[in-house]
Homo-oligomer: 801 residues x 2
């Protein structure tokens, strides 16, 4: 048991807390007169009052107690602020500890600085009202709720000395992601990882309602957290000094327990999942604001959630505000110049021990490049297009296995998946590391250990949240997910993309590794699962975010996937979305061609085009592995049946190439686009996703009116691969019909081909419902294995059916 | 304590279970020879083996035990199957109880029927592999995981006699939504609601990993569920008979406890949240399949998750399969004709007590129309456009208050919100009902009671899941949400839209009430929250689903919102997305005009257009309340500064009108589109959301190349309303500049106007960063209050700045 903290120190801590509260109120309300050295007048108050007071004093309370513990126990602590609405509190503390002025020198440690600090808050041209990328010390946006624990755990993985103090607020505590976030302790290894100290902060109210956790009997709450695997310490109070006393004791107890757990595990190895400590802190909502305003309860009520007085310019409200702020006794806190008094300021930690200056919160500063093997060494040998069959993501998995191997010592690379690593064919990674698991392991478990570097949990939220926390603290990772269910984290992606966009414009934020997604088990090959698992719309969602942070790749084969993967692992500050199939599929490009094709992002496939395609009659474009196979097959059919038709095949790997360069930095120039897609010839574009996305990307292009797009149109069930193509009309037969119908003059002379294709289309449907398998002639990989793709002349007479 | 079930009955139940398991295996593997009356040959086996065995025997086990309890205690039970992968099990049971043949008469109760039953499963042209809309008795798609508990609770709200037996599988148990779904008990009132009986089914493995819940010590697991507020009963076994015995006792104990809780609450009123019973059932994964296949453990291992033998056509595997199926002793279960033996069949409940025939699972059969007041009675009086100011959603809230009132007795209408009901201005509803809360209520709480019909919890997942469960069992509801955070349920929306799309093509599924969203606190008015709360992309997401089930409305004012709301509450089988602001805004249309405008979906606003707009020089189009204000203001500026310019203002309420009619049933004909938007004049389209959506909807229209769209482009922070417009260039000044730049011949003679607008654009930015408020001339609602919108002639000389 630690010594109790002397009251003298607690009283100084209380003064520090009052200073933070004072600055928080000042930020919400004041334009001027920051030290209240003249009577408060209407013109000192902001014309629009925006912000959130309710959670702020509690956040400040926690901050000052963590400061004390950091100094006393020489800790390395990151403050993860779940109730991000409490922006003014975190800003106030980062200012008081001196970090803010170091990062933003114009906000000085004096009255002039205070005035600017107050004015800028939630003010046009200033800073946002929440904890945000602009806030030093933060890796967690205070916008959407639910991910504080996942971020905190992500931050401490492979950071053995780091403690993430993670404040969970009333609102967040009710969300689903947070509710499963507690279970992250089943994946934390005290030998190599740091610790998370969860602090459930029960103010009692969310916006308008009580949090249900605040209304559970304490016995039930204790059981809940013990059931989650924690040892909860309860701190509850309203009267500052006794509450300080309780909190200091609880923090010391938690720190001691964390140290004991870690020392034991590091001395004796991991034996059993420990019961990690946590704190449940109950304080009044809006603590220390007026008990009542206008005769209505304020402190301890939902009325203090945002701004306790929305009209602070009235005379009576001015006096309330003045009295409230003066209750913190600013004259005891700031000297004549408006500088925080040194005897209080010294309570803060020093240098990078200050939570606002913790380097883990600006992960780019700690980022070490991955050691990457030469991806060319993993190439599938492709003697000629279509000669080989491979599972693209399995090939990628071999490469990732060696990325993992080369960086095992650095401990800065992890893979994340909702129980889909092997399903998505990355299982070779398990040759060099295990799946991480610190719950019970029994015989028969497959590659599970506390030391594994693969994190698998059936929660896309956890995977995304852990990965974000891992990346923002300066490490690398890859998230493998079923394509349809990545929508589960649409909103998390939004927040991360917004975070990156804002960071791009903040000088002191250093670049971090990109967030990489492999989306596999995609819409076209949901053989076991069907309609509910078919949704290629994540790309559409991603495209709404700023072009500067978004990249989308659809490599058509394994060698292209290798090239793209290497590129993604080297990139910084992006979200890279890679979509690739796991099923055996034809391989088109040898490695040299693949590298060149990926570097260009898109290009003509001469070998699949017909003779004379330099001046094509029609362009067959494709993007995505399954649509590409159908386009190559359609081009083949056209060569056989309409040998004089000049067909150009264009494949797109980098979807952003389609946009104009002023919309996206990867965008192809209009001239180059016109050269590829012509200015006036029909373009049949076979796309992996929803067809209208291609229109959205190309509507400004010269030839847009001639672009006809095929894609997924929400038709499907558990059926065969080719039947999925037929149901959605992206199949080779339909594409040939499209070409015939849309190429001027062709319909008249190619009626017999159209009829034949239509017959095949129908024959397939009859065949598949009878036999349950695709017609032999359309089984993709078998087709690919038939050998060199015919180039037109010698092999045009007979159809190969 | 109930009497133990006699072993004779348990043995018959075991036989019933074996029959269900036999039929499940048959569905996964067999094309023919359903009763194995001849030696199993390769041609009897499906060429592609698709499905999931692992969870199925446990689901069958639960089904047979629920059947027994329904008969013995005369219960009304809905089976919510979280592990939807177990499709073959549920189909098997629904077939054995006779429902399947009633619904699908071609699947008869004989050998011929069995053959069809087997073949159709996961077969082209057949049924999907999961529990799906096609499955009688289901309201829960077995696709994405996480929502079983939310659906179950939604189903029993206001259904006092219903018990939703909700099976939660290993995978689902790890998800966030499910983890908070347990807390639904804080919102369940035993007086008026039914009960959920959660059955956590721990098979041990997900796809490739153990579930962490299966690896928590039982003491911890017990505490977790007691902490969640449940009384868990543990059933664990491998040997059938003792496990049957345990399970029967557990089910009886739970039923008794549910009856006791309900009887007490209904006799004495609600006093305190009861501790509801639940079952934790541990059985081996793939229970009853071969212990080993090819020398590798199968039963009890992740290897039995999908299809234990992916190649069942080899001779050795044929023998394994035959031995496995025969281990169920089919000769004891089916008679010579292949009919399920009557002495076993009689164990199933009768009629609508059969879970496959429970009418709540086909909610349209129970649906009663809402009593709706005349929405015209809530009209804002608008003497002339712009004369009034109102908060649109507050007006809507008054209407919804009376909808609530009129249907209180019917108990079939609820509102759902993540703590945003009042924030989104629906608080008048609280005049007639409370927020529902069965956790502790204390003085100072605002309109909380166990009887409330507003469900507020800070989990969009819970709101959506409860609402879906409520709707699919035949009731009505509305979900109010911040626009940005509705993305949290993108994936849930996907599943619901897919469910509706499939139901549209199933004769016996009756229409259910539409799922209605109000999205407010939208992108343009996130005054307190800023960038993290700005995302209008849900529309883009919604648009990817089938047009037949999707509707999107952006009413520009309160009267239009009333008309749209009435329409949504009357509609069936749609997802209606309504986007409307909560802030004071100008009111444009009187009720008569609003009704007509909404009926047409879009139209020319003559009063805002300039004289002679029958033959316009330019079209100013708008969709969404804030963009509409800016367009009306821009048209006003144009009238003043360029009085001879003929400007037509078009407002769009029903976004789907923009699509061609072959894409969406609401789509405007090309001729009508051309009349409104012209064939060749510039169209400046000011849109609420991301601009490219308008291009996506209109790219096939004649005049598409002249459509220039303004919208949200991911710029924003906590700032003023007009500054948000300026940052994203949807402001009136920028629109005037657009008109000048894009109208042929205008730039040359309107250079001075362009300069003036540019100066105002810049002046605003300077003003707002200085003062923190918008320039007076652009404060939207003040502008609206200036009076009748000038029509051009008399008021053109001076700008009103």
């Amino acid at each position: 048991m630690a010594e109790p903290i002397p009251d003298a120190l607690l009283n100084r801590m209380d003064a520090y807390w009052r200073a933070a509260n004072y600055l928080s109120v000042g930020q919400i309300y004041l334009l001027d007169n920051p030290l209240l050295r003249e009577p408060l007048r209407k013109e000192h108050v902001k014309p629009r009052l925006l912000g959130h007071w309710g959670t702020t004093p509690g956040l400040n309370f926690i901050y000052v107690h963590l400061n004390r513990a950091i100094r006393q126990h020489d800790l390395n602590v990151l403050y993860v602020c779940g109730p991000g609405h409490g922006g003014p509190g975190i800003v106030a503390n980062v200012y008081l500890e001196g970090t803010y002025t170091e990062v933003y020198p114009h906000i000085g440690p004096d009255a002039a600085g205070l005035k600017k600090l107050f004015k800028q808050f939630s003010f046009p041209g200033g800073i946002p009202s929440h904890v945000a990328p602009e806030t030093p010390g933060s890796i967690h946006e205070g916008g959407e709720l639910g991910y504080a624990l996942s971020h905190a755990y992500g931050a401490v993985f492979d950071n053995p000395d780091l403690i993430a103090a993670c404040v969970v607020g009333d609102g967040e505590a009710e969300t689903g992601p947070l509710a499963t976030g507690w279970h992250s302790n089943k994946f934390l290894n005290p030998v190599r990882d740091g610790a998370v100290l969860p602090i459930l902060h029960l103010n009692g109210y969310k916006i308008a309602n009580p949090c249900f956790m605040a209304r559970m009997p304490e016995d039930e709450l204790r059981k809940l957290f013990e059931g989650y695997g924690y040892a909860p310490h309860f701190v509850s109070g309203e009267d500052p000094l006794p509450t300080h006393r309780q909190m200091a004791a609880a923090v010391d107890a938690c720190v001691a327990e964390i140290k004991r757990i870690q020392a034991d595990a590091r001395a004796n190895g991991f034996r059993t999942r420990p019961q990690w400590p946590m704190i449940v802190l109950r304080t009044p909502k809006g603590w220390t604001c007026p008990k009542e305003i206008d005769g209505k309860r304020c402190e301890g009520s939902w009325r203090s959630h945002q701004v306790p007085m929305s009209e602070a310019g009235t005379e009576s409200h001015l006096r309330v505000l003045e009295g409230w702020m003066k209750s913190y006794r600013p004259e005891e806190l700031f000297d004549a110049a408006g500088t925080f008094k040194p005897e209080l300021a010294e309570l803060a930690p020093r240098g990078t021990k200050r939570m606002g200056a913790n380097p883990h919160a600006n992960g780019g500063r700690l980022l070490v490049d991955l050691k990457l093997p030469d991806f060319r060494d993993y190439a599938v040998k492709v003697a000629h297009p279509g000669a080989e069959t491979a599972e693209s993501t399995r090939v990628q998995g071999k490469y990732l296995r060696d990325v993992m191997k080369l960086n095992l010592e650095a401990q800065n690379f992890r893979l994340f998946s909702p129980d889909e690593l092997a399903s998505n064919r990355w299982q070779d990674v398990l040759e060099v590391t295990d799946r991480c698991y610190t719950a019970e392991i029994v015989p028969g478990d497959d590659h599970l250990s506390p030391d594994g570097r693969v994190l698998e949990v059936l929660s896309e939220h956890q995977c995304q949240g852990w990965l974000e926390g891992y990346l923002l603290t300066g490490r690398h990772g890859f998230f493998s997910c079923y394509e349809a269910f990545i929508h589960i984290v649409d909103s998390m992606f939004n927040q991360h993309a917004k975070w990156l966009k804002v960071c791009n414009h903040i000088e002191w934020r250093r670049p971090v590794a990109s967030l990489n997604y492999l989306l596999s088990s995609h819409v076209w090959r949901q053989d076991h699962n069907g309609f509910s698992h078919q949704d290629p719309g994540f790309i559409d969602h991603v495209m709404n975010k700023k072009a500067e942070v978004i990249r989308v790749y659809l490599p058509p084969d394994a060698n292209c996937l290798l090239s793209v993967t290497d590129h993604c692992l080297r990139s910084r500050d992006y979200v890279n979305v890679v979509i690739a199939g796991k099923q055996p599929g034809p391989q088109w490009l040898d490695m040299t061609s693949a590298v060149q094709h990926c570097a260009e992002g898109l290009g003509v496939w001469e070998w699949a085009s017909s003779a004379g395609a330099a001046e094509p009659d029609v362009v067959l474009a494709c993007c995505g592995d399954v649509p590409t196979l159908e386009v190559v097959a359609a081009a083949d059919l056209l060569r056989r049946h309409l040998p004089d038709l000049k067909v150009r095949v264009v494949n797109v790997v980098d979807l952003m190439k389609l946009q104009p360069p002023k919309e996206h930095p990867h965008g192809l120039s209009d001239a180059a686009f016109d050269r590829l897609f012509t200015k006036d010839k029909p373009v049949i574009f076979n796309f992996h996703g929803y067809p209208w996305l291609i229109h959205r990307l190309t509507y400004r292009r010269t030839n847009h009116n001639n672009i006809h797009v095929r894609g997924y149109k929400e038709e499907g069930t558990t059926t065969t691969p080719f039947d999925m193509c037929v149901l959605n009309e992206i199949d080779r037969f339909k594409l040939v019909i499209d070409v015939i119908e849309r190429t001027p003059g062709l319909a008249a002379r190619a009626g017999h081909v159209k009829e034949l294709m239509d017959a095949k289309h129908k024959a397939h449907r009859a065949y598949v419902t009878e036999h349950g398998i695709d017609m032999p002639e359309v089984s993709g990989w078998e087709w690919g294995q038939r050998g060199k793709v015919p180039r037109g002349s010698s092999d045009t007479a007979a159809d190969n059916a």
